[in-house]
Structures are given as structure tokens and as C-alpha cells.
């Protein structure tokens, strides 16, 4: 298939792996930021092609994984409210709150629907004027413009029975939180390509300069990732710390400016809790003043609800690159997709789920590799 097969070509992959081996002289730890990249790495076995010196740790870029428990609880409460049509992207449905998930709310009679676009939820609100339609606005900068557009259109056309439960998070503050941790092992980043299609690459330049860390904006196919790793290692070997764009076929330097303007109109920067990590200042989006009427938290009176994270799940350490899924004592034993202790096991893009699904076979060798790197 065009635009897919070219980026999964085994010969080209082997060629990149050889080139990478030639330039690598010492151990490097890189983090791929996005859960989609983690999934591709583990699914296609991209890390098996890397030289032993190069280790990939998995970043926080899984929107399902970082949505805090209290927001899931708010979603469950709103979804169970009579008269509400609760709309969500598919993979939020299985994420466990304290005792429940949205699929169970649906099984007990809640009207929970999967939509492919927040604009579908606005259309549902128009078609059901006697019902309250709530959209679970989850995600990074990638999904924010469409969610902003849904609110903007609802406001423009006077759709009053539509609201969104906002759980938007931003990538650069999370990368900064990881870099500023004294425990951080990350020496270079593969930045999330799709986020940068919206935001461009300029906001990463201060990070690269301040923390002396190469940041390569990278795509999602095996060859994208191999090339991203190559560019990142090349910078490290040459002592450079720059922002480079591997994903130039999709990412422009300035990103999608109209989308950014719309986000700026509808949302404001706000502090956000990250599941397993805690609150990071200025790391998320909330509805801006002219649009707070569309805030589901206010409309359903759940804004003050809070919920403490369970302590036994180490997804926070995994998402900060401090630990790999199979190093968690609960992995594949007490924590499985059927019995998830945390969202990284539940979401299809979560690092733990990816390891569980594709990698149980390989756990012991990887563990040895990590120990070697510890020295």
C-alpha cells in the first residue's frame, strides 16, 4: 500500500540498522515520546534492529494513559446521568476508574457512544435537542484543534445541549518535567510527529538548548523510527543538541497555523494532573473564558471531585522512562489487560499493553540489556 509499504521495507530497515551501527560508539538512551511510536516499535520489533548500545525508553505520549483517575471518575459519573449521551473515542471506554469503566456504565444502561470525531458529537446534540451530549475531549495537541472546532461550531450555531469534558495535555511541559528530574536517563528524544503537524517544531528549540538534548521530530512507521533514532544518535555522537525534523513529509516548521489559532481561541493553558506522574504546571488546556459554558465539569457539578491514584501501579515511572514494563513486578502476573492495575496496561497504546501483547517472549533478554546499561 502506497505511503505504508515504503516505510516498512525490510531491506531499507536493515540498511538503516547497519548505518546506525557504524556511527554508534557508546551507550545512548533515547525516549520516544508518543505511545503510537512505542506501539510501532514493539509491534514491528524495531528495537531488535538497533545496536545493543542504543536503548529506547518509552515516553508519556499516550493520551489514554495519562488521563488522571479523577477525570475518569467524572466521566463515569456524567455518563451514568439519565438523559446524557456520553461520546468518546473508542479506547477510553475500557480505561478503569476506581471500580468501573465506561463499557460497564454502558452495560448498565448508560448511553455511551464511540464517535470518530467530536463534530459527530455536535451533530448528535443537534439531532437530540432534548438530551445532553457530552464529549470526552482527551488527547495531546493532535486532537485539540478538532475538539476546539467542535466547541467553536456549537457556540456559533447556538447548540446549547453540547459540552466537553476536557483532559487535554501538552507535550513540551511533560518533556521538560522528565528532563528536569535528577533521575532522568534520557539523552535524546524522538518527538511525537503528529503533535508537531499541529504545533510545528519551534517550541522544542528552547528545550533542546536549555537541556543540551537532541530532539528529532519522528514519524510512526518502522523506517521513520529507525531514521529518527539514527538522526538522534548522530547528533549525540557529534556533540550536537538540535531540533531536527525526520517527519518532514507531514510536519512543517510552523505547523498548522489556523489550527493553532483556533486552539488559542477556545482553550487556555492550565495546570493538569498526569495519571501516574502528578500535576505538571502549564501542561494542559482548559476552556477559555468565552467558552466555559461548554465545560461539562461545571454543567454537571463535578468540578470539585477528586480521586487519589492507586499507589501500586508504577506506570508513572514507566512513562518517565525510569523503568520498562517488564521490570515491574506486577507485569504479566498481577497486571494483565484483563486485570489492569493502571492505564498503561489498558490502553492499546500503553507501553505495558504493547509489551504484554507483543513481547512477553522477550522479557528476559531485554532485562539483561538494561542491567548492562546500568553500569
Amino acid at each position: 500500500m502506497k505511503f505504508i509499504d515504503e516505510y516498512r521495507d525490510p531491506k531499507a530497515a536493515a540498511g538503516y540498522a547497519r548505518a546506525l551501527r557504524r556511527i554508534t560508539t557508546r551507550p545512548w538512551t533515547l525516549m520516544e515520546v508518543c505511545g503510537g511510536q512505542t506501539h510501532a516499535i514493539v509491534k514491528f520489533g524495531v528495537d531488535e534492529l538497533l545496536p545493543p548500545e542504543v536503548e529506547l525508553v518509552h515516553g508519556p505520549g499516550c493520551p489514554v494513559c495519562v488521563t488522571p483517575l479523577e477525570l475518569i471518575e467524572k466521566a463515569l459519573e456524567i455518563a451514568a446521568t439519565p438523559g446524557v449521551i456520553f461520546c468518546s473515542f473508542g479506547d477510553m471506554l475500557r480505561v478503569p476508574g476506581r471500580t468501573d469503566d465506561l463499557l460497564s456504565v454502558r452495560a448498565r444502561g448508560g448511553d455511551v457512544r464511540v464517535v470518530y470525531s467530536p463534530l459527530d458529537a455536535v451533530a448528535l446534540a443537534r439531532a437530540n435537542p432534548d438530551r445532553e451530549v457530552v464529549f470526552f475531549a482527551v488527547g495531546f495537541e493532535t486532537t485539540a484543534p478538532a475538539n476546539a472546532m467542535a466547541v467553536f461550531q456549537a457556540a456559533q450555531s447556538g447548540v446549547k445541549n453540547f459540552s466537553i469534558l476536557v483532559s487535554h495535555v501538552l507535550v513540551p511541559p511533560a518533556m521538560e518535567a522528565i528532563l528536569s528530574s535528577p533521575k532522568s536517563r534520557v539523552q535524546g528524544f524522538l518527538a511525537a510527529g503528529h503533535v508537531c503537524t499541529v504545533m510545528g517544531i519551534t517550541e522544542y528549540e528552547p528545550l533542546a538548548a536549555r537541556y543540551r538534548v537532541p530532539i528529532v521530530v519522528t514519524g510512526f512507521e518502522p523506517l521513520d523510527i529507525l531514521q529518527g533514532v539514527y538522526m538522534c544518535v548522530k547528533q549525540l555522537e557529534e556533540g550536537r543538541a538540535e531540533v531536527e525534523n525526520q517527519y518532514a513529509r507531514a510536519v512543517r516548521h510552523d505547523g498548522n497555523v489556523p489550527a493553532q489559532l483556533l486552539m488559542g481561541e477556545v482553550f487556555r493553558i492550565a495546570p493538569r494532573k498526569w495519571r501516574g506522574v502528578g500535576e505538571i504546571p502549564k501542561s494542559g488546556l482548559a476552556l477559555a473564558a468565552p467558552y466555559t459554558a461548554f465545560d461539562a465539569e461545571l454543567r454537571f457539578g463535578v468540578a470539585e471531585h477528586s480521586a487519589d491514584e492507586p499507589t501500586e501501579c508504577c506506570s508513572g515511572q514507566i512513562m518517565q522512562g525510569l523503568m520498562k514494563p517488564h521490570e515491574c513486578p506486577a507485569f504479566a502476573a498481577r497486571c494483565t489487560p484483563e486485570h489492569p492495575l493502571g492505564a498503561t496496561m489498558v490502553s492499546s497504546e500503553g507501553a505495558c499493553a504493547a509489551y504484554y501483547r507483543y513481547r512477553r517472549l522477550k522479557a528476559p533478554p531485554l532485562q539483561e540489556k538494561v542491567v548492562v546499561h546500568g553500569h
Binding site: 500500500m1 505504508i4 516498512r8 521495507d9 525490510p10 503510537g36 509491534k43 514491528f44 520489533g45 524495531v46 531488535e48 534492529l49 493520551p63 489514554v64 473515542f89 473508542g90 479506547d91 477510553m92 471506554l93 475500557r94 478503569p96 476508574g97 476506581r98 471500580t99 469503566d101 463499557l103 460497564s104 452495560a107 448498565r108 464511540v114 470518530y116 482527551v138 488527547g139 493532535t142 486532537t143 503528529h194 518502522p222 487519589d308 492507586p310 499507589t311 501500586e312 508504577c314 515491574c328 513486578p329 506486577a330 498481577r334 497486571c335 494483565t336 489487560p337 484483563e338 486485570h339 492495575l341 493502571g342 492499546s348 497504546e349 504484554y356 501483547r357 507483543y358 513481547r359 517472549l361
Partner: protein, 351 residues
């Protein structure tokens, strides 16, 4: 790191312990199996039934019969390449074929929602007639119920069927041996994506058509030619992944598959990429896998390729001892990964 799933105050609820039935209990993955193993088998388990097989093997008055039943709740009722009626006939025909039987007599039950246009019902019945004719089966008994408007999605169908087992050996996971070759009868993922595209109103350049078709002919051809068949499985819910994982787990053997060998049509791959689905898990209604000894694999392929429904049959994998009970896949770029069963429904991803 204390974890207590029993008291579980702060833990996530295990999805296998739900107090209400979830959609995933019918999804053909782990939850379905838990329902079968935890509820149905303890209640109904007996030597004739093979709970995780497509049908029962019965000995009746000297004859060896295969007996199978299936229900159909597909939405929308009509989709490119078929409708609920063709599914109801071919589904049961194929379950019988997977037992090594020649499908012969079918029953059909209709649960019709009040208000279903008579034209729709007529169209479904005429599809069933055509499908039965094509598969060489006769519908000999049936039942009709009508439920209140709003209590059914137009129509639900159930079909059951019997056929004489023509294969002398035992076609079952227990017969699978290390060294067996896994044959796949054609491209995968078409039915699931055809229904998904029709349901969600996804527009592609040309409509993805379901692969819905009867499979008895190529299976009987293998039997007639004297090919040793160890196991057969049609790749319905859960796709090629769930079928192979079930067999690997049942036999305790390792199945190694080659991703590159599996044909997936461009439009199906495109739809899967857009929705974040893995075609290995997408349902088929006219595809099966066959486990045959290595020495007979090329002859079996030759026979399969003589039939339209299995013209593109290929070898996709082999069976070995280790690692036990697992399915692994050689990926496009040459690395190896595990193939696992889904624990719930495949859900479209956020981004």
C-alpha cells in the same frame, strides 16, 4: 508495591469479573472464552461437545454426524458482499465444514422486530435461498418470532445444521503435531471491515466487499484427495490471530506465522490503518486455516487453489514445540513478536 486484587479497594475492576454482561463477552476474545469455560462448559460440558471447536461430533445409529449452531446479529443487515441471510447460511455451513463434514440440513430461526419492512425480510430470505443452493444444503425446519418495536435490530437469525463427517481421522486441535504447516485460504480482514465501513458510513474509492462464502467445497476436496488434515478453523470473530492462539493454547504447541505471507487487500489495509485496527484480528466469513503435515502441504495448496473461494491459498506458518502455547509472528521488517488474543473488543484509537 503491595497489590491486593481480592480486597481491591483501589484496584481496577478485573474485566473478567463484571457483574453485567459486556459486549466483549461476545467478541470472540478472552472474555468469550472465560464465559464458555466458567459458565457454559460446567453447565453443559460433555464428551461430544468441543466447546472451543466449531461443532460437535456425534455418533448416531452408526453414522458420524457434525452438529453446529450459530446466531447472527449483524448491523447493518445489508452490507457490500452479503447480508445477514447469507451469513446465517454460510456461517453454519462453514462450521460443519470445519468438522470435516459435508453440510446437509439446516434449521433457521427468525427473531423479527415489529416494523421490519417486508421487502427487507424478502430480500434476506432470498439471499438465504441462494446461499443454501450454492452450498448444497437444504433448510428443513424453522421458527418465527416477532418482538416489539425497539427490542431487536430489525431481525436476528439463528441457524443450526447437521452433516455427515467424511473424514476418517479426528480434525481437532489435539491432532496438531510439531512440523505441521498452517495453510490460509485467502486474503484476510474483508468481512469485518466491510461491515465496519457500512456501519460507520466510511467512504472509500470502492466499497470493501465481505468475503462471505461457503467453505465446504475446498475442504471436501482435500478429504476426497486423501490429504491428512489435523485441524481446520474458520476465521470468524477475532480473525486469524484468535484462531491460531486458541489452537496454540489448546495444544501447548508453538505456531510461528509470517506476516509477509498473509494477503490483505489494499482497501482493507487502508481502512484498518485509519481506524487503528490490526487486520489479524478482523473477522472473515469465507476464510479458514488448515493444519496439515509438511509433506502434504504443497499438494493441499494445489487442491485448494483449484477452488474459487481458496484460489489464493498460501502457507502462513509452521508448528513447533517451543515456546509452548504461543503464537509468534515474523514481522514485515523481519523481527519477531507475540500474537495474543484480544481481551475485549477492538476499539478505534484516539490518534
Amino acid at each position: 508495591m503491595a497489590t491486593d486484587l481480592v480486597s481491591g479497594v483501589t484496584c481496577a475492576v478485573p474485566i473478567s469479573d463484571h457483574t453485567h454482561v459486556l459486549m466483549a463477552h461476545g467478541g470472540g476474545g478472552r472474555l468469550t472464552n472465560q464465559l464458555i469455560d466458567g459458565l457454559f462448559l460446567p453447565a453443559f460440558g460433555n464428551p461430544a461437545g468441543h466447546a472451543h471447536h466449531d461443532g460437535a461430533h456425534l455418533h448416531l445409529g452408526g453414522a458420524r454426524l457434525a452438529f453446529s449452531t450459530d446466531s447472527y446479529v449483524v448491523q447493518p443487515l445489508f452490507f457490500p458482499g452479503g447480508d445477514i441471510g447469507t451469513l446465517a447460511i454460510n456461517g453454519t455451513v462453514n462450521d460443519l465444514a470445519m468438522c470435516g463434514a459435508r453440510p446437509q440440513f439446516l434449521s433457521v430461526g427468525f427473531v423479527i422486530e415489529e416494523g421490519l419492512p417486508m421487502a427487507s425480510l424478502t430480500r434476506i430470505v432470498s439471499s438465504m435461498r441462494a446461499a443454501a443452493l450454492a452450498a448444497g444444503v437444504t433448510v428443513v425446519t424453522g421458527d418465527t418470532k416477532v418482538v416489539d418495536r425497539g427490542k431487536g435490530d430489525g431481525v436476528y437469525l439463528n441457524s443450526a445444521g447437521v452433516g455427515l463427517i467424511e473424514y476418517d481421522g479426528v480434525i481437532a486441535p489435539a491432532s496438531v503435531r510439531p512440523g505441521d504447516v498452517v495453510l490460509l485460504s485467502g486474503d484476510i480482514g474483508r468481512h469485518g471491515m466491510a461491515v465496519m465501513a457500512a456501519r460507520e458510513g466510511l467512504q472509500f474509492e470502492s466499497a470493501i466487499e465481505s468475503d462471505c462464502a461457503p467453505l465446504a467445497e475446498p475442504v471436501l476436496a482435500l478429504i476426497d484427495a486423501g490429504v491428512t488434515i489435523h485441524c481446520l478453523r474458520d476465521l470468524t470473530r477475532g480473525g486469524v490471530a484468535s484462531a491460531t492462539v486458541e489452537i496454540a493454547e489448546a495444544t501447548g504447541l508453538h505456531i510461528r506465522m509470517n506476516e509477509q505471507a498473509m494477503a490483505i487487500r489494499e482497501d482493507v489495509r487502508g481502512a484498518c490503518e485509519i481506524l487503528g485496527f490490526d487486520p489479524l484480528y478482523v473477522a472473515n466469513e469465507g476464510r479458514f486455516i488448515a493444519f496439515v503435515p509438511e509433506a502434504e502441504a504443497s499438494r493441499a495448496l494445489e487442491i485448494l487453489r483449484r477452488h474459487a473461494v481458496s484460489r489464493e491459498a498460501v502457507a502462513i506458518g509452521t508448528v513447533s514445540e517451543e515456546p509452548r502455547g504461543l503464537v509468534t509472528l515474523k514481522s514485515h521488517i523481519g523481527a519477531t513478536r507475540i500474537v495474543d488474543m484480544l481481551s475485549g473488543e477492538q476499539l478505534p484509537r484516539i490518534c
